[in-house]
Amino acid sequence: MRNRQLIHAPEPHEAFEPRIVAFFCNWCTYLAADLAGTSRMKYAPNVRVIRLMCSGRVDPQFVLDAFAQGADGVLIGGCHPGDCHYQEGNYKALRRYHLLQRVLRQMGIEDDRFRLEWISAAEGDHVRSVINDMVEKVRALGPLQLNGMTEDALEEVAV
């Protein structure tokens, strides 16, 4: 087991700004986010993008770890079905997403906090709308509360 301090959310008197970790695939969604940049589209600054080669690389543990470390939401972006640069990694991501969504639900993590989106390299505008939409939904949900859980459960989440 990993020796690590769990990080807790800031004091409640601060205005709540959701923090969302995004895993974007190198070929479609990361490029779409680049395109949103070169097109100077404006969107909410709440998302931290981590680049992976394929959405199929998103280990469910990454998602659990992000929630355990204080993320209020996790977004996965991959290529559209049939468009995966590695043929079918996005299908694997979809499979894992559905399973993980059920696990998270049992832990009391709302569906809106965990999202999978297909965004092609040409869809910079979609990056903007997905991020804005997700930030608003997570903002409405408020900070992720894992405090109700026992320390054991928290440790399990932390892998």
């Binding site: 970790v21 070929w27 986010a33 199929g56 543990q61 990694g89």
Partner: protein, 672 residues
């Protein structure tokens, strides 16, 4: 579950010496992000020895700054916070390499495309940048030195599409001594350009400049030309693609056919009865035909849909009689599949023209004398259905002609883009029609767009020739006569926005200047070759300015109008560029692949085999003796899907190891 990760803080940062470099990118980044605050913050992070900012980190002095620090401060990890890694990761990796630091000990932070260009609030953008930099600093400490893989490259090139782009690219490569496979779907090469009469602005005859190149393709010893063929399957990777090509049966043995066309004369059909595709239905052809007189290859085709022998089996087969000893006709021919191996691929699949019937108010398909521009190209072409005589369907010459620009371009109801070539070809058609018929010509335009060498001058010339120009989008084309003088004419109604009133102009012929669209099967083609399309359906280039003919798939290039509307000079330039890019790759004789492959730790592997079906490339196999899985590094493309799927955590991916990602996650989330 075994945890192979080392503790994040403490002892392991010993020996790790990180330099953080924050780029201003002029004001691109510094205008929205407080770069100084970021470097000050980065300097406080564990392991960071130095943090600096610079105006343009990618410039020579910027790179020199990093290299100097690597030498002087014995840095062994570098974080560059600047633009997208897709733009400058190779630049900074090379900079590291040149001073002897392994290039993979670098982590880039994308604070331009992902921060400064998309956010307005400076404190929020700066806070986000801090998080990203912290993630990168944590991650880079975990980086390991990696080596790129070198694989030999197959010098052969596949060119898909035999229009002017494909022809030019194929000839360039073949002249450089490379073997080229040119695959064309139609029975002849030549593409759209073969249909044109003259080309703007010089008015050279299209055939005179194109057909010699077509012939050169047909006779080049290093070009394997497969017309009437389509690419079915593509596998492999840069330098080593395997391609399956389907050769449709033309019911003619190509090696035996001399192109004498005696079979066409002898066909039991005395007159053609089938729509002639090459002339866009303006003439009829027989079931056995040559697409056009200068077709390459000069081999006839039999169309099984209309040939009596195929329909009933009871034809007298006069064609076989006429062919005689040559025995080139084979009604039993079957399609064949060819497997080829090539190192690089150039896509030059071209465009299609807008279907004018979609704009119902212009009457195309309803009024016989409304033509598309491409049909008029055939009408005025000396080798066209009327031998170059511009006549209406009833055989009379038009006295007044209206040319409507932007049909299926710059239109919110159809296509928003400017098709770029229509203004110029409309001018060219106006000139040619006037020259042939002396008719009054009215051009209806939104804006005249004539940038290009000699283009504006050509426009000026047309103005001098007395061609009329009306500025305004045409509302409708109608037969309804408001005045006896309009009887039997087509009336064009348009607002003249310069004179500010609505005009009705009666004409005998309407030419719709149709825009360019992606090929209807562009999506299927892009999937086949694993490349991307823009929203409109044009193939997406790697970088709009700096890599205009490359794609995101290494070794696959694009040329011509499949990438976006363009005229012949631009198309030829792109085809040459694509050929040069392919040559540069091929002539290096080997290609370097990113080392992002996955590998299995034998001690951890439980032999459960769950990774094996996850790999679409069959790169994972099971070693029976050891009861362990193993990954073939040559076949692995580095997606990491097996890594995420391994239940025992025994698979890792170079540069994307679990601990690297975990540290990045924790880094971006840790409160400052």
């Amino acid at each position: 579950m075994p945890d192979t990760r080392r503790p994040t803080n403490g002892s392991d940062t010993d020996g790790i010496r990180i330099g953080v470099y924050v780029c201003h990118c002029g004001t691109n980044i510094a205008g929205t992000v407080d770069v100084k605050a970021i470097s000050e913050y980065a300097a406080t992070l564990p392991g960071v020895v130095v943090a600096r900012t610079y105006k343009y980190m990618c410039s020579d002095p910027g790179q020199a700054l990093i290299q100097q620090d690597i030498r002087d401060l014995r840095l062994n990890r570098i974080v560059v916070a600047s633009c997208s890694p897709l733009l400058h990761e190779p630049t900074f990796r090379r900079a590291l390499d040149r001073v002897g630091l392994n290039p993979f000990l670098l982590q880039m932070v994308n604070i331009r495309e992902h921060v400064s260009w998309v956010h307005l609030d400076k404190p929020a953008a700066t806070a986000k940048t801090n998080d990203l930099v912290r993630g990168a600093v944590r991650r880079v400490a975990r980086h390991k030195p990696l080596q790129k893989r070198r694989v030999p490259i197959n010098p052969s090139v596949l060119v898909v599409g035999g229009g002017i782009a494909g022809i030019h690219a194929a000839l360039t490569l073949a002249d450089a001594g490379k073997h080229v496979y040119l695959v064309e779907r139609e029975p002849t090469i030549g593409g759209h350009m073969a249909k044109f009469d003259k080309t703007f602005p010089t008015l050279d005859c299209a055939a005179c400049i194109l057909t010699p190149k077509m012939t050169a393709v047909g006779s080049h010893p290093l070009i394997t030309l497969w017309t009437y063929s389509e690419v079915l399957k593509v596998s492999g990777y840069v330098g080593n693609y395997r391609v399956q090509v389907r050769r449709k049966p033309r019911y003619i043995i190509e090696d035996l056919c001399l192109g004498c066309q005696e079979c066409i004369t002898a066909c039991v059909y005395k007159e053609g009865k089938t729509r002639d595709e090459f002339n866009l239905g303006l003439s009829k052809r027989k079931p056995v035909y040559l697409p056009f007189p200068q077709a390459v290859p000069q081999k006839v085709v039999i169309d099984p849909e209309t040939c009596i022998e195929f329909k009933s089996g009871k034809c007298k087969k006069t064609c076989i009689e006429a062919c005689g000893e040559r025995k080139a006709i084979d009604f039993k021919q079957k399609e064949s599949l060819e497997e080829i191996e090539v190192g690089t691929i150039i896509l030059a699949t071209g465009f299609t023209t807008f279907n004018a019937a979609r704009n119902a108010y212009y009457g195309y398909g309803r009024y016989p004398n409304v033509y598309t521009s491409l049909e008029v190209e055939r009408l005025i072409n000396a080798s066209g259905p009327t031998s170059g005589e511009l006549v209406l369907r009833d055989g009379t010459r038009p006295k007044a002609v209206g040319i409507i620009h932007c049909v299926g371009s710059r239109d919110a109801n159809t296509n928003r883009w400017c098709s770029k070539v229509c203004c110029m070809y409309s001018l060219k058609l106006a000139h040619l029609i006037k020259e042939r018929t002396g008719a009054d010509i009215f051009n209806f335009y939104i804006d005249m767009r004539t940038p290009g060498k000699g283009y504006e001058e050509f426009y000026d010339r047309l103005l001098d020739e007395g061609v009329h120009f009306v500025r305004g989008r045409v509302a409708e084309v109608t037969e309804w006569a408001a005045h006896p003088s309009e009887k039997g004419k087509l009336i064009i109604r348009a607002e003249d926005t310069l004179a500010a009133f609505v005009r009705r102009i009666p004409v005998d012929m309407v030419v719709l200047s149709v825009g360019l669209e992606p090929q209807p099967d562009a999506q299927a083609v892009r999937r086949l070759f694993n490349i991307s399309c823009s929203n409109e359906g044009w193939f997406l280039e790697r970088h709009p300015k700096l890599a205009p003919v490359s794609t995101f798939t290494e070794g696959v290039y694009i040329a011509g109008a499949c990438q976006g509307p363009k005229d012949i000079p631009d198309t030829v330039a792109q085809a040459g560029a694509a050929a040069a890019e392919a040559l540069a790759l091929v002539d290096a004789q080997f290609v370097e692949l990113e080392p992002y492959t996955a590998f299995i730790s034998e001690e951890e592997c439980s032999g459960c085999k769950s990774c094996i079906p996850l790999c679409p490339y069959q790169a994972i196999s099971f070693v029976e003796e050891k009861k362990k899985a193993t990954i073939n590094e040559v076949l692995c493309k580095g997606c990491g899907t097996c890594v995420a799927g391994c239940p025992s955590g025994s698979i890792q991916q170079n540069f994307f190891e679990d601990e690297e990602i975990f540290d990045e996650i924790e880094g971006v989330l840790a409160y400052a």
